[in-house]
């Protein structure tokens, strides 16, 4: 019954899905979905092309697997639904492996590790980030992310605000609409240390490594039925880590090794 009503409402939408998925199987191009708004992992360059750590890892993996690759930019909100709808075959977009997401998709082994962190303006006097101390304070995060889940779940007495992109959260932390934000460690490090507007702000408090939210690190997501692809990606990932390709890409972007966080 439930399913019938749902299919009825989306009859036309769903009708297109098998066709798209079938088309994907015919071509030997691996279509990679990414966000394109999450520097330095994935972003749009000035001339409108996708670039970043995720993209280079994706290219290296394709080279290792000897397949052609194409990249698709997709808003974060719809990145899992679009994978399931067959718009692309794998998500390489710095996505944390979480229990909730595992119900929707399968993940490869982690290709990076990360933690989350609070970020505050430098003139802020916040030092205690316990839910009690943050009651009534305004905390921002990008919506549909692990950090959004984290503050929604643990800070019910704070004014929690969700933004469509990480850039928008950053803008509002700069403008002073937010008392603090929660973001991913690496992008927050990059933003506060390397960008002009990020100079306003600093990492604060202890790193958030709560396994309920950060899970088993960051993985690539494929449709549940594509287990062969998942295994191929895992094999290729092991290979590029072993032959130093991974390290070369890592060092282009980061000062620490983000697979080991050392």
């Amino acid at each position: 019954m439930n399913k019938n009503l749902f299919s009825l409402a989306f009859a036309t939408f769903l009708a297109t899905v098998p066709a798209t998925a079938a088309m994907a199987a015919e071509t030997d191009t691996l279509r990679i979905g990414t966000e394109g708004a999450y520097p330095p992992f994935n972003y749009m360059t000035a001339d409108g092309k996708l670039g970043g750590f995720d993209l280079e890892i994706g290219r290296a993996l394709c080279k290792e697997m000897q397949t052609k690759c194409s990249f698709v930019a997709q808003d974060w909100d719809g990145i899992i639904p679009a994978l399931k709808a067959g718009k692309y075959d794998v998500i390489i977009a710095s996505m944390f492996i979480t229990e909730k997401r595992k119900k929707q998709v399968s993940f490869t082994d982690a290709y990076q590790k990360s933690a989350m962190t609070f970020v505050t303006p430098k003139d802020s006097n916040l030092t205690d980030f316990s839910p009690a101390a943050m009651a009534g304070k305004t905390i921002g995060a990008q919506g549909s992310t692990t950090q959004a889940d984290y503050i929604s779940a643990l800070y019910p007495d704070s004014d929690v605000r969700m933004y469509p992109t990480q850039d928008a959260v950053n803008l509002d932390l700069v403008s002073g609409r937010l008392d603090a934000q929660v973001g991913d460690l690496i992008p927050m490090l990059e933003w506060t240390q390397k960008s002009d507007d990020g100079a306003c702000c600093q990492l604060a408090g202890e790193l958030i490594t709560d396994p309920r939210f950060v899970g088993d690190g960051v993985g690539m997501a494929v449709r549940k039925e594509d287990d062969a692809l998942r295994q191929k990606l895992n094999k290729a990932l092991t290979a590029i880590v072993a032959d130093g390709t991974y390290k070369a890409i890592n060092d282009k972007f980061f000062t620490i090794n983000i697979l080991t966080l050392q």
Binding site: L5, F6, I80, G143, L171, D172, G176
Partner: protein, 245 residues
Amino acid sequence: MFDLLIEYAPRLLSGAVMTLKLTFISVLIAAMLALPLALVRRSGSRYLQGPVRLYISFFRGTPLLAQLFLVYYGSGQFRPELTELGLWWFFRDPFYCAILTFSLNSAAYQTEILRGGLQAVSRQEVEAGMAIGMSKGLLYRKIILPHAYRIAFPALGNEIILMLKGSAIASVITLLDLMGHTRRVFSQTFDMSVYVWAALIYLLVTTLFVLVWRRMEHRMTRHFRAPVTPSAPLTSVIKESTRVS
């Protein structure tokens, strides 16, 4: 699909309340702005017309989403200046930013709708009013404005419905309206059916609004409908017609 609704209904409903607040506050403020602006558009001096036209073409010619971004994130860039002017408390709040943007946007549309209404008022009625010595104020109050609003009424209803749905973009500046809550629930459940429920709530609100608006319109146009002549009682008319056939 239904268990999802039961679990998340309170959130969707609180979102719907926010949507209604955003829409109706904005539309009311816009209505107050639209009357003087429409009067200027119709008969104001050339020097007043220019700025009003510029305002209208800006707000009608650019996307509401862009306007909202401009007001919200744009004002964030001028925090020191706005603090100095004592206005930052206003722009700091996403709700006020949304009300400001939506009001200005809707006022632009309502002004043009009302101008059309003013222009369509029958010339003869205005002349009749002048002939019996009505002052300009009385003429507007008793003849021109009642007619203009009646003529503009369906189009104004249309504009309010568009605003109601347009308010769905408020979630990009973190407001938890119906769409904002829907997106949040979706991101937690990955259940597409929450969008179906949200659409149904929008549809329900719009339908209720249309019914009320139609009622009001019906009442406003009652003078167009021929009065029932009470000469022959209805029952006898029915009896006669049955007899004939």
